[in-house]
Symmetry: C2
Subunit: 242 residues, 2 copies
Amino acid sequence: MVSKNQIKLITGLVQKKNRTEQQLFIAEGIKVIQELFQSDFELVHLYTVANLNIQVPSDKITQITNNELKRISALTTPNECLALFKIPISSKINDHELIVALDDIRDPGNLGTIIRLCDWFGVKQLICSETTVDVFNPKVVQATMGSLARVRIVYADLVDVLKKTKLPIYGTFMDGNNIYTEQKTREGIIVMGNESNGISKNIEQLIQRKITIPRFGTQQKTESLNVATATAITLSEFCRNS
Amino acid sequence: MVSKNQIKLITGLVQKKNRTEQQLFIAEGIKVIQELFQSDFELVHLYTVANLNIQVPSDKITQITNNELKRISALTTPNECLALFKIPISSKINDHELIVALDDIRDPGNLGTIIRLCDWFGVKQLICSETTVDVFNPKVVQATMGSLARVRIVYADLVDVLKKTKLPIYGTFMDGNNIYTEQKTREGIIVMGNESNGISKNIEQLIQRKITIPRFGTQQKTESLNVATATAITLSEFCRNS
């Protein structure tokens, strides 16, 4: 049984201001919940219609009906269980690895896809500019398919981070060096820019190595690659020889 | 001025059965319309609120109001103009190039992204299984950003096509050869599978070279890459040394 107050709290978490105030976010579906639970995320409460094979203290689990799940779910097709987790406290940035930094990514689907790519390519740290869409948005949590449990995500002032780092800073542009032939280091920060405007001017000044994914089409009219597909190709190039 | 019958015809084209019956599809926004118009697509009629710099016979253009555009547009935010084009007659498959084949891709966004990737990497032919989402779905037309004008798309029985072709047939699987080290030919068909189930059993039997994008993460839990990002990495690998 879910109380009216709980329903109000949970459904409120689709809004960023409520997530920030409560320091809580929603995850739905057993796979995502299990992966977050088994990593460093702190489970606050689990609501489920099914008997789950997951070791949660009894005061943190509530059996609910399908109708109750429908009322609290952010999904069109609710998925057996919904959990509340605490938003983790931002970790420090480690200066000895390959890091992806996002400059003002707005689309939740793109952010989710990029987190999955980081996970696939073993990138453990993702830095998001403060204008990037919130990773604890329920749509992003679903789109990550559990990769959120394995990639540390920090929201930070990107200018500040890039000014302080000792790592080489790469950025993807339309007029940089060919990514296939450019020397690439094992450690570094790769900046990916906004869906419409690319990397912003104040960040561009801090990029040390501009790279480009060359176009192979003869007609040269394709405007640009989507940021998620550009990230896929870029990470593949940084990792393929490592 | 748009008549009631025209409104009925145009708004009906969001449904596949009406597109098939009328052999027409909708494109919106000057950029997409211009690129389709300048390629082999046959313009049937253009509805516009603005004066456009496009050479269309006067009987094929209708000036409309913003309110009329809202009534016929499939977009939440209509974009100055809407055009009806004829669905082209399927062209023959050319056996001397790099071709992408899609086995049951269901998401319109993924199909749109893959068409843009084909365009970027100079792949001129895309073969879609008959179960793949319709490319003339207004969402796909918008997502292609004009690449539709440069990539030939054929819907066909994929089993039949693969049985008849003389080209080497590649397919992406979880357990194939490492794509980074596998010998890749300049001509060939690359099959990409369904979002949830990958390549279907009857297609798998016809794949001659199974390839895999290796996972670099240490935890080995990331289930799979999204089909659009996997296509990005695969096309990049086939083209980077060509």
